[in-house]
């Protein structure tokens, strides 16, 4: 089964035609997607900034990560669900869309960055959790995370200007 056939079968789903044809479904799903993504970016940015030592290293990194990342994941789940609903409605044109592809690339890069941080740098967190400068690998992870998420949002908004409706 080639990719075009898969995309077309996604578009043929009942839920896909509902999103496509309803007057309010797409804007409403898109609105929830925005609520989800602002919480993803905002909560993960708090963790990223702490990796850069902001506002202070006197609060433990693990305490901030514990407070924020649960919500980051919950909001990310909501963004994936709403994003998938918008995708299936017009799968073929999203697949061909340049900013959409760049957005997916940025998401993958953000995921790889997070995985490397979790599996390598975070292992030694007890040495720099509190009142110590974050190691350079952690600072790089924080900077990359902010960069990839800002790029994700930028390409996401760009999709809207290359497709109708925006």
């Amino acid at each position: 089964m080639d990719i075009t056939a898969i995309l077309q079968s996604l578009e043929a789903m009942t839920v896909a035609s509902w999103v496509r044809e309803s007057d309010w479904a797409f804007p409403m799903i898109e609105s929830v997607h925005v609520i989800a993504l602002v919480l993803v970016f905002g909560t993960i940015a708090i963790v990223d900034l702490r990796l850069l030592g902001m506002p202070t290293t006197s609060v433990a990194f693990t305490a901030i990560a514990r407070d924020c990342l649960l919500w980051t994941w919950a909001a990310f789940g909501l963004a994936v669900i709403t994003g998938a609903l918008m995708f299936v409605a017009n799968a073929t044109s999203y697949y061909d869309n340049f900013p959409f592809r760049m957005k997916m690339l940025c998401l993958v890069l953000a995921g790889i960055n997070m995985a490397v941080f979790e599996l390598v740098t975070f292992r030694g967190v007890s040495r720099w959790d509190k009142d110590h400068p974050v190691p350079i690998a952690g600072k790089i992870a924080g900077t990359l995370s902010l960069t990839f998420w800002i790029a994700t949002i930028t390409f996401g908004r760009w999709i809207g200007f290359t497709k109708v409706p925006f």
Binding site: P27, M28, E30, S31, V32, V34, I35, L37, V38, L39, F41, G42, T43, A45, I46, P55, V59, A60, A63, D67, C68, W71, I150, I153, T154, R157, W158, G160, F161, P165, F166
Partner: protein
């Protein structure tokens, strides 16, 4: 509002923004990023009030950590929002959803200012009296929903504009 939109659409500033096609998407992106800071700052303060996060700092410290971010991000939203109005006056000024968003925003900003005021007057206000916890929970949830409504109305601006005659 139609007359105002018509006049604005003819100004040099508006024409310049309409001419440079990258301005509106870029400014919208900055608008979303700043909205993200506003929303998440309120969210983290809400979690601290509900004792669901931020146990390492007091209410006053939590407010000092997040409220300046919220106010500065709101200022960025005001500036980027003005650019978007100047660039697309018909889409905004002549659109009931835009005015609904402004009304919701006014309530949300007043609530944030009120919160800051109560905290400055009486640092223990949001942490005391366990009997009031239910009211506090309702207030935090309402505030969160209010900001959600601001975002929803903001996104719907794109779908409800009345084109120029």
């Amino acid at each position: 509002m139609g007359a105002l939109a018509e006049w604005l659409a003819g100004t040099q500033a508006s024409l310049a923004i309409q001419d440079m096609l990258w301005i509106v998407p870029t400014v919208q992106t900055v608008h979303i990023l700043a909205m993200s800071v506003v929303m998440s700052s309120m969210f983290m303060i809400g979690l601290r009030i509900l004792n669901l996060a931020g146990g390492y700092h007091t209410m006053t410290e939590a407010a000092r950590r997040f409220l300046p971010w919220m106010w500065w991000a709101l200022a960025v939203n005001l500036i980027t929002g003005l650019v978007l109005i100047i660039g697309e006056p018909w889409r905004t000024l002549n659109n009931p959803t835009f005015w609904l968003k402004m009304a919701l925003l006014a309530v949300a900003v007043a609530a944030a200012a009120g919160f800051e005021r109560t905290l400055r007057r009486d640092a223990g206000f949001w942490e005391r009296r366990p009997g009031d916890r239910k009211t506090v929970r309702v207030l935090v949830a309402t505030n969160f929903l209010l900001w959600c409504c601001v975002i929803v109305a903001g996104r719907w601006i794109a779908y409800t504009d009345v084109p120029p005659p």
